[in-house]
Symmetry: D2
Subunit: 134 residues, 4 copies
C-alpha cells in the first residue's frame, strides 16, 4: 500500500542545471517547496493567502539525501506524506525520475506555524491534515 498522499509530475528546466550539467542542489529544495504548496492548494489553501492573514508556515529543519542527479530533459515525480510530531508537521518527500522511477532525492521537512510572529499550534492545519495522519 502506498504511503504517499500527494504527487506532482514536473520537468527539469535547463536553467535549473549548473555547470556540472545536472540540476543544482538548491533547486530540489524549490521542487519540494512547490510540491508542498501545490498539496496545500489541492486542499483549497493558498500559501500567499495564508501570509496575508498573518499565518506563515515555516520550515524549521530539512534533511535531504541526494541519490541520483536529474539532468536536462528529465521528468520527475515529487511525492509526499506527512506526520505530526508535537507541534511540528513533518513532510516526508521523495522525488523519483519518471523514466525509471529511480530515487532522486529523499527528504524530510519539519514545518512549524508562525501566527502573527509567534510559534503556534494551527487549528487550521490540524483540521486540514487530520485525514492524512494515521
Amino acid at each position: 500500500m502506498d504511503k504517499y498522499i500527494f504527487e506532482l509530475t514536473l520537468k527539469v528546466r535547463d536553467y535549473e542545471c549548473d555547470l556540472q550539467g545536472i540540476v543544482n542542489n538548491a533547486n530540489y529544495q524549490h521542487y519540494l517547496e512547490h510540491t508542498r504548496h501545490e498539496f496545500l492548494s489541492s486542499l483549497g489553501v493558498s500559501f500567499a493567502g495564508l501570509h496575508e492573514q498573518g499565518v506563515d508556515p515555516v520550515v524549521a529543519r530539512i534533511h535531504m539525501a541526494f541519490k541520483t542527479p536529474l539532468k536536462s530533459g528529465d521528468e520527475f515525480i515529487s511525492k509526499l506524506y506527512l506526520r505530526k510530531e508535537g507541534i511540528k508537521y513533518v513532510f516526508h518527500q521523495d522525488i523519483f525520475r519518471k523514466e525509471d522511477l529511480k530515487l532522486v532525492v529523499r527528504a524530510s521537512v519539519e514545518t512549524v506555524c508562525v501566527v502573527d510572529g509567534r510559534l503556534r499550534e494551527s487549528a487550521l492545519f490540524d483540521q486540514l491534515f487530520a485525514p492524512f495522519l494515521i
Copy 2:
C-alpha cells in the same frame, strides 16, 4: 489567424515571487528561455545535447515589456513565433495570464549561434526553423 507557432502552459511557483508579492522580473526571462527550449525539444532537438556537440545558441539581445504582474497561483500561457533577420533568429514571445488572457510580458529575443566558440550561421537551425518562417 494566429501567428504563434508554439505555446506552453505553466503555473507560478511561490518561490518565484519576491517581497513585492509578485513574480520577480528575472523569472520571466526564465519562463521565456524554458519556452524556447521546449519548442526546440518539440522539434526533437535538445539544448543540452547541442552544447555537448559544441553548438551553443546564445541570446544576443532581449527586450521585455512588463504589462501585468503574475502572482502566486496564477497560470499563464507562454507563446512564441520567430523571424530570421540576417544571421539572427528573433523569437517573439508573449506571456498571457490564463484566467483572462491579459498580456503579462511582451518580449523579443535575438539569438545567434556559436559553434566551437565562433559566431556562425547554423544549417541545423535554418533547416529546423524553415517551416515556421514566412
Copy 3:
C-alpha cells in the same frame, strides 16, 4: 568625464552558471536589480521599506544586450546612471568584467512608481534623484 553615478563590484557565484558553463542570462537581470537597490540603499532608501509604505517601484521595460559572457570565478563591476523621461526613470546600466573592463552587458531599465496600486509621479524619487539628473 564619467557619466556613471554608482557602481558595485560583485563576483560570479557558481550556481549562477548554467549547463553552458556561463552565467545564465536571467542572472544579469538579478545583478542589475541588486545594483539599483544598492544605489537606493546608498541614498538611505530601502526597497523593502518602500513596499511596506505602499510604494512599489516597478520595471516597465528592459533592454539588455549581452556582449561577453561571465564565467565561474569572474569579478565584475556593475555601473549605472539615470535619466528622467516623462513619468519614467530610466536606469542605464552597464556591467564590465573586472579583469579587463570588457563590456559584459549593456542595459536600459525603465521604471515607474506604483503607489497604493496606482501609477504615480513620486515626489520622493524626484527629490532623491534630482542631484543625479543633468
Copy 4:
C-alpha cells in the same frame, strides 16, 4: 578557540526574498555552496576547473536547521569547518546575522568526490584539506 577555518561576509539581495518577505530557504543552500566554493578558491582550487578535469565534488546529504530568518538589507557571515568521515568530507556550516551574530542557519553538508563518473577517494582533497583536519 574558534573551530571555523573559513568565513565569508555577504549581504541579502532583495530577489532572494520571497512573498513572506524573508530569504527563501533554498537560497541558504546557495549561500552554503558559494561559501564552500570560495573556500576551495582560497586554496587555489576552482570548482569549474575541477569539473573540466572530470572531478566533481557532489553533495550526498545535507541537514539544515533554520533558526532566524534573514531579511532585505541584512548582512551575514557564513562560516565553515570540516571533518573527514570515511570517504566523505563533512562541511559544518553556520550562518550568523552580522548585526547581532544571531544564528541564522546551522548546517552539515556531506560531500563525496565523483571522478570520471565514479565515487572515489580524492588524493587532491585529502592533501588540500589535511591542514584543516584535527
